[in-house]
Homo-oligomer: 363 residues x 4
C-alpha cells in the first residue's frame, strides 16, 4: 500500500447501511486500490448507538451533527447512509463544501428533490454516486456486459420483481413514516429494480401502475405493480412488495432477446441463468477468474456474499475519485438517482390517476 493516497471519510448513519458501508471501507485495504479511506467520523442522532458503532467499526470520531462533517477539512468524501429524509440537505451541503458524495438510494424522496441534488453536485464539480449496490453484484455486471456485447440480440422483454415478506408483522419503523421515508416498497425495493432496468435495458418511457397499501394504519405503500414501455421498444413488468410470504429477499429479473435470455435472483447472487438461441438455460456460477470482480476473491465455486457488493461499489467510487475511471456507466451517479426518481414518481401518478403516464426527464 506504500504510495497509496488516502482520503478522509465522514459517514452519516450507523444502522443497516452504516454497518454495510463501514465494512466495505475497511475491506478496501485488502484490495490494493490506489486510494485508501481513512475513517474520520461517523454522525447520527442517538449518541449511545453512535458511539457503539464508532467503536465497533473503527471510526475515529463520532459527532451528532452532520454539519460538523461538512465543515471538517479532513473529510474528502461524505457518505450519506441516513434515512431518506436526510438525503438531500446533508448531501447538498457536503457537495457545496467540495466533498465527493456517496448517497444511499433512493436519492431524494421525490424527483424534484433528486433533481436538485444532482444539479448541486454537478455545479460543485464533485464526484457523486448513488448507492445502487446491485450494479456491483458480479452476475449483474456480467449481465450488463453480455447485453452490451449484443449477446442477447434485440431485447424485447424485461421483467423484474423485488419481493420480501416482513411487511406483515413488522414493528414500527421510520420506513413506514411517509415524511421520513417518502414511500414504502416503491422507494425501498422498487428503486433498486428501476435502476437495474435502466442499467440493463434502457429508459422507461411510459408506464401504468397500481400502488397499494394493504396493511391497515400504514402510511406508505406495501406494494406496486407496473407495466413499462421502454424508449427502445422493450416491454416489461416491474413489481415490488413487502407482503410476499415465502419470499425473503427475492430481487429477480429476466431479460429476453432475439438471441438469448438471462435471469438472476439476489437470493442466489452468484448465479446467472443464461440461454442462447439453442434454447435451454445454463446455470452459470459467476465465480470464474475472468468474471467481473472475481479477480479480487477466491477460486471458482467459492461464492461471495451480499456485503461484498458494497466493497466493489466503494472500490469503484475511490477509483473514480482518483480519476482511474468514472462513476458512470457502471456505477450510478446522482443523475441515475434522479432518473430513477422520475420513474418512481410516474408510478405514483399513474396509480393515483388511473392512467398511463409518460416519463419525462430533465437534462
Amino acid at each position: 500500500m506504500a504510495g497509496a493516497q488516502s482520503i478522509g471519510v465522514g459517514m452519516l448513519g450507523y444502522a443497516f447501511m452504516g454497518k454495510a458501508h463501514s465494512r466495505a471501507f475497511l475491506a478496501q485495504r485488502t484490495l490494493g486500490g490506489p486510494l485508501q479511506p481513512e475513517l474520520v467520523s461517523i454522525s447520527g442522532r442517538n449518541r449511545e448507538k453512535l458511539e457503539e458503532a464508532r467503536a465497533q467499526y473503527g471510526w475515529t470520531e463520532a459527532v451528532t451533527d452532520w454539519r460538523e462533517q461538512v465543515e471538517d477539512d479532513r473529510i474528502g468524501l461524505f457518505d450519506n447512509g441516513g434515512p431518506n429524509a436526510l438525503h438531500a440537505e446533508p448531501s447538498i451541503a457536503a457537495a457545496r463544501a467540495g466533498k465527493h458524495v456517496l448517497c444511499e438510494k433512493p436519492l431524494g424522496r421525490t424527483a424534484a428533490e433528486s433533481l436538485e441534488m444532482w444539479r448541486e453536485a454537478e455545479t460543485a464539480g464533485v464526484v457523486h454516486m448513488c448507492g445502487f449496490n446491485y450494479r456491483f453484484v458480479p452476475a449483474v455486471r456480467l449481465a450488463r456486459e453480455l447485453l452490451e456485447a449484443g449477446e442477447l440480440g434485440d431485447v424485447v422483454h424485461f421483467r423484474a420483481r423485488y419481493l420480501q415478506s416482513w411487511g406483515w408483522d413488522a414493528p414500527p419503523s421510520w420506513r413506514f413514516d411517509s415524511e421520513a421515508a417518502g414511500s414504502g416498497a416503491l422507494g425501498d425495493l422498487g428503486a433498486h429494480i428501476v435502476d437495474l432496468a435502466r442499467y440493463l435495458v434502457g429508459e422507461p418511457a411510459a408506464l401504468s401502475a397500481v400502488v397499494r397499501t394493504f396493511v391497515e394504519e400504514r402510511e406508505v405503500d406495501d406494494s406496486f405493480v407496473a407495466v413499462v414501455e421502454f424508449d427502445n421498444g422493450v416491454t416489461g413488468t416491474l413489481e415490488a412488495s413487502r407482503l410476499a410470504r415465502g419470499r425473503i429477499n427475492q430481487n429477480t429479473f429476466e431479460v429476453n432477446g432475439s438471441k438469448g435470455s438471462l435471469s438472476f435472483d439476489v437470493e442466489r447472487l452468484n448465479e446467472l441463468q443464461l440461454a442462447d438461441e439453442g434454447g435451454m438455460f445454463t446455470r452459470v456460477l459467476v465465480t470464474e477468474p475472468d468474471h467481473p470482480f472475481m479477480s479480487l476473491w477466491w477460486p471458482p465455486g467459492h461464492i461471495v456474499g451480499w456485503g461484498d457488493t458494497f466493497t466493489h461499489e466503494i472500490h469503484h467510487l475511490l477509483a473514480a475519485i482518483v480519476g482511474d475511471t468514472s462513476v458512470a456507466p457502471h456505477g450510478a451517479t446522482f443523475e441515475d438517482g434522479y432518473r430513477c426518481a422520475e420513474v418512481c414518481d410516474a408510478i405514483l401518478r399513474s396509480a393515483e390517476n388511473g392512467s398511463r403516464e409518460e416519463v419525462s426527464y430533465r437534462g
Copy 2:
C-alpha cells in the same frame, strides 16, 4: 365396466388437440368412470391427414364436414378441437342439436362471439365445457383447494406468465393469421393464465396492458403485459410471450396471501411450492394418494404428464354429463370461456387506447 353407460363422441380437429383428446378418450376405460365414450367420428378438411388420425386413434368414421356430426344421432358429445375460427359455428350448431359440447380455448375469437356461444349452449340446455386443461393439473387443483380452505389467508398478489420461445423462428401457421386465430400469444397462452387467475383468485375488474408484435410481417401479437386489479382488491401482473428464449413452456403463477404463498410452473407440473407464515417454500411433490386425481395413478413420486390433464378433464366432463357432478366450479364452462374473453378484449382495448380499462361482464 359392466353396467357403465356409453356416449357417442364426434370430434372436430385432428392436429395437436385432436391427438391429446383422442388419447384422453381412450384412457377413460382404465379409470372406471360411469360413462364410457364411443369414438364415433372425427372430422377435418384434409382427407389424408384425417384418415391417418382416424386410424391411429381408433375413431370409427372420418367425415370432412362437421355438419354430418351435428346431424349424427349416434353422437351425444361434440368435441371441438379445431382452429379458433371454427369454434363458434360448429359448437353452436351442435348445442342446438342437443349435443353436449366440449370446445377448446379460447372459446370464441372475441367476447361477443364467446357470449353468443355461452347463451346458445345455455338455451339448448346441454352440458358445456371450455378446454382449460390446466385446471386439471393435480397441483393446480390442490392450489385451488388450499385457497378455498383459506390456507393462504387474505390474498393480496397474483402473478402469472406464460412464456414460450418458438415465435422467433416459427414456420407459417394458422396461429399467425388474424382471421383464423383471432389473436396470437394473447388467445393462445394468455387465455390460459387469465382462466387460472379467475379460477384461483377472482374476477379481473380493471387492467392496463401493452400488446406487441415484434416479428415483422406477423399479423397477430407476439406478447402482452398487463397489470390487473381484481374485484376483491388483489393486484397482479399477467404476461405472455412466444419470444422468450430459454422458456420452452413456462406457464407459471404465484399467489401471495396474509398466511402463505404458493407457486407453480407447468414445466414441473407435479410440483407445488408452498410457504406458510413461518416463511420458506416447501417443494410439494403432488403425487401423494390424497392429492387431487392421484388415486387414479401411481405410488408417490411417480409423476404424471401433461397429457394426463386431458384425461382428468374428460373424466370430469363425463361425470357431469351423467349428473355425478357439475362442470363448474372445477371445470370451465362456456361462461368461464366468455368471461376470459372479456378480459382478453379489455387487454386489447387498453393496449390500443393507452388507457386503464374496466372489465365488464354480461350476465
Copy 3:
C-alpha cells in the same frame, strides 16, 4: 391400423405393475405400431380384485391359475408382473410353451434363478425382456445416446442412488417377506440403478458393500451402499434406501467424463442436466421433437409422465417381436436381468463377508 398384426397377451398380476402394464398395452393403439396387443387374459389369486382389474383395464378373461395362460393358444406374449417369487416358474413355463415373455424386475430372486430363466428363454428361442422401464425414460435414452456418441469423452465416475421414504411407516406387505421378495431395497430399488449403471457405463467388475436392516422385525434389507469398480476402469457409488425422509422417489444418477457430465432424477424425469468442457450444467428439457420417443407426444415443454415409460417399453417389445428391432441393447433382455442379479448377489456377499467381491458372469 389397417394391416397391423395383432398378438394375444396374457398378464400375470393385477396390482401396481398390472395397472401400469395394462395402460401401456391400451396406449399402443395410439402409437401406430406394426403389432397391436389383444388383451386375452389376466391372472391372479384373489378372484375379486382380479375381476375388478379385468373389467377396469379391459382384459377379456380373468383366470386364477397362470398355467391356463401358458396353455392358451390365443396368447403369444406372456407378461409377468407378479411378485418376485412368481417370476421364474411361470416365465419359464411360458417360454417353453413358445410364448414371448416380458418379466418384471428383478428377474429372479437370485443370480442362479435368473440364469435359469435366461437359459430357458434362449433355448426356447422366444423374445424375452426384463422390465427395466427406466431405460425408456426419454432423458435416460438421450443420456445413453450421448455416451455412445462419445460426447462425454472418457468416463471416470458414475454415481447413482434410489431413495424413498415409505419404509419407516409401511404396513405389512409381501415386499418385506424374504421368501416372496428375495430382498428389500436391493431388489426393489437397487436393481434399477444396477441396470442403469450397466446400460450407461459398463459391467461392474468388483465391489464393496454394506447392506442394512434398520427397522426392527423386518426380514429384508432397508438399504445398501456400495463402491463399484467397472471393467473399464470407471469408479462409482451405488445406494438405495427406503428410509430417506424427504425423498419420495429420488432415482438419480450422474456420469462424469473427460469432456462432460450428465445428471438425472426420476422426480423430474423430463430433465437432463448436461455439462461440457466449458463447465456449467444446462437443464435440458427432453421434450424436443428430435429427442428420444418425443415424436410420439406433444410440443416442446409439454412433459410426459412416469407411466409413459411403460408405453415406450412395450412399444419396443412389440417392435422386437415383429423383427423391426431387437430387444437389446436399448431394452433389457433376460441376460441383462441375470447380469443385474449377479451384481446384487455380489453386494449381498460383500456385505456378509466384509470383503471386496469380484463380480463374475456366466455366458
Copy 4:
C-alpha cells in the same frame, strides 16, 4: 473496542489461505470480539510475493523464515496456512514456544504426523485449532444444532461428496506433488467431508474404498469413493474428485434420520434443505436473525459468502483463547485433525489392500 485485549499474530503462507485468513483477521474489528488480532508478521519463501501480500493485507513485517516468528515474543498466535509439507514442523515449534496455533487442513500428511502435532500441542498446553472452515458455515452449524437436538430422530444414512472439475486441465502445482501435498483429492477435498461426517454424524469405524489417479503422470490421487460404517450404526458414502466436469465446487452432504432429513451444498451455502416426517424438503435460507452467526450480518435474505466462514472461524478461535468458549466441539481441534487423518489413512489402506479396513484411533 475500548478495553478489548489484543494478540499478536504471525502467519505462514501468502497464497489462497493467506488471503482468506488475512481478510478474516481484518474483519474481526467489525465484530466487536473481546480479543483483537494485531498482524505482526507474515512469512514465506518467495520474497517478492511475500512483500506484496504483506502490503496488501496490512501485515507489519515480512520474514522469509518462519523460525523468526516462532522466536518472536510479540506473537501469541501462530497461523499456519502453508503447503501441507510445512504443517507439522512449524506448528509444533510454535506450540513448543507457547504460541496458540491455527493450522490449515489436512493437519499432517499422515495420521502419524497428525498425531504428533496433536500430542505436542496438548503437551504445550496451547489452544490449537485445525482449519476446517466448513464447520463455520451458518447452514452447517444449524445442521449440527438440529442433529444435536434430535430433530432428525435416529440417523441412519450419511452421504457426502466434494466434486470439482479443474483437475483435467490444471497447470503444475505443489498440489500434485506427493511429497509436498501428501495426497490429492483425498487430503484436499476428502478431508473436509470426513471432518463434516465426524462433526455431524459420528466416528467412522470401518470402510471400503477405491482411490484412483486417472490423469497420466500425476503423482497424487484424482478421486476416491468409500462406503463407511459409523460407530453408531449409520451407513454412508464419501466421495471426492477433481475430475467432475460441471461441478465447480460441489461440497454436498445429506443426512437421513427416522424423523427427518437435511441436505446442503457449498455452492449455495446459505441454504439448508430440511424435511420432516411429513415428507417434503423445505429450502431454508439460513439468514434469519436467530440462525447461527447471522446476528453478525444483514437482514434476512442478504446472503454471506464463502470468505465469511473464516471470519467466523477466527472469531471463535479468539474467543477460545480468552476463555469465553472452547475450540471443541464447534471448532476442530488438532485431535479432530488427527482423527480425520486416521480415516484418510484407512481409505488409502483399503484401496491398496482391496479390503474393508477398520479405523482405529489412538487416545
